[in-house]
Symmetry: C2
Subunit: 306 residues, 2 copies
Amino acid sequence: MSKSFDDLLAKVSSISKKKLAVAVAQDKAVLEAVKAAHERNIADTILVGDADEIKAIGAELGMDMNDYEIIDEKDKIAASLKAVSLVHEGKADMYMKGLLDTKSFLKSVLDKEVGLRTGQPLSHVCVAEIKPVDRLLILTDVAFMPYPTTEEKKYIIKYAAEVAKACGVEMPKVAVCCAVETVNPKMPVTVEAAELSKMQDDGEITGCIVEGPLSLDIAIDKYSAEEKGAMDRKVAGDADILLFPDIQAGNLVYKTVVHLTDMKCGCILTGTQAPVILTSRSDTCETKVNSIALAAVVAEEMKKNK
Amino acid sequence: MSKSFDDLLAKVSSISKKKLAVAVAQDKAVLEAVKAAHERNIADTILVGDADEIKAIGAELGMDMNDYEIIDEKDKIAASLKAVSLVHEGKADMYMKGLLDTKSFLKSVLDKEVGLRTGQPLSHVCVAEIKPVDRLLILTDVAFMPYPTTEEKKYIIKYAAEVAKACGVEMPKVAVCCAVETVNPKMPVTVEAAELSKMQDDGEITGCIVEGPLSLDIAIDKYSAEEKGAMDRKVAGDADILLFPDIQAGNLVYKTVVHLTDMKCGCILTGTQAPVILTSRSDTCETKVNSIALAAVVAEEMKKNK
């Protein structure tokens, strides 16, 4: 695994430069990230939206608009469909939300004609660099699927493993996280965790190592794993991917990490034909740039596997 | 609220000294904490268990055994019943687990003759000092009740509010934490969170302010609350108590805080006639001492209300 976002950014500069399409690009925070991504040689961008507004904000931010392709489309829905179609047609490699609501943006992602649907469920993958941990950690799903079924969790694991691979881990370790590390029929998620672990043993889940149920300390901390006699588990203190039981647990841990630890992160939406960047208003510019970089390495990996 | 454990320890020294009864006290880690609590004037202790073993470990730790009352009882179950009965009879103020399994320990807590049962559900209250937060935060329930019902959550809130009061907050603010801050019928916990908030408005929950559903950022971070236009909520960036939807979310957040942040904590079991300390093998000595100090201020508060 890339050990940090610095590693990941270095990786980006070693692959062919990727192109980003932004839907409804007249958004200052998004253009700031687009500018940083250009300056740091992470990605070029096609800006779809209200050209006058885009140029005005660009001027404000000191952007040289000759560095960007602009497609003028004042209607937001039309702009999103135009932007997503660029990715659909292979003219761009990744798709990012600008100044439109999430619902409309997702509609464009899932559009049957020009969208990026694969027929598989979508899920959110967050890659985090958290100070005391010596590697990048993937948290999933902390933002998209509310109560994933076991079948959906198989997809969540598959996508997270693909992202980990794009970040440089050939055989990522997945911890199916629960409150406890033993199966307890009174906690159905622990039973499901053991099932997912067995599915990997049986070859039904491939490309990663899956172990659960695991408490978070055993998943990420070798010392705790030793203390609790858990070193014989397939994942013990060295998880690359933390799979959460549901969005409540996932999102609350994610927000804890964002607000109470020294961390960097980047996030993408997966299960689509190309990586999708669905940043939130509260994300910092750095998080947005990290998300673009993450999308770029994932786009490269998807191209390899085509 | 005491802003830190230093404040809390200062508070302990201002109240009458409390007495701790330890069940099956021949446990090095527990005796280490008992010694520290004695030296720091937090509590005196009655050690119930195998007297020879207790003395041997005490000698190893450099304890002056004249400072402790020892009751010799080699049988573990009998020792736990003896220790809990001391609290039941008012000869001690708080009850702590030593070298016996949690199940047997809880049996003594709930013993009909000599135990501490109140007929109300038990729940776990964790008081945490986490670096970027300028006050103590209570996390509950992160370790005991697996899937509390709405009725049980009312008790969890009541107990946490009592602990907050013992720590010096007259009217604690409770954030009913969820993945999102809006009611969404597809996420039943958000509906329940709004119900709990309304129960407080209607006077069915008293002694605290309850608001939910709240995402964790809005609950603890004023800046996020402002950003998201949530400053009109009853709790906005200034929560004292974080109520979790279930043990999965609670425990995963708790372990995240323990392993990935700069924090101190102390925990007790509530819903009993006196505070119970159920520390885990992985707790540090400091956590055990903090738990004893927390139990002492809570015991003082319970005495006041008798």
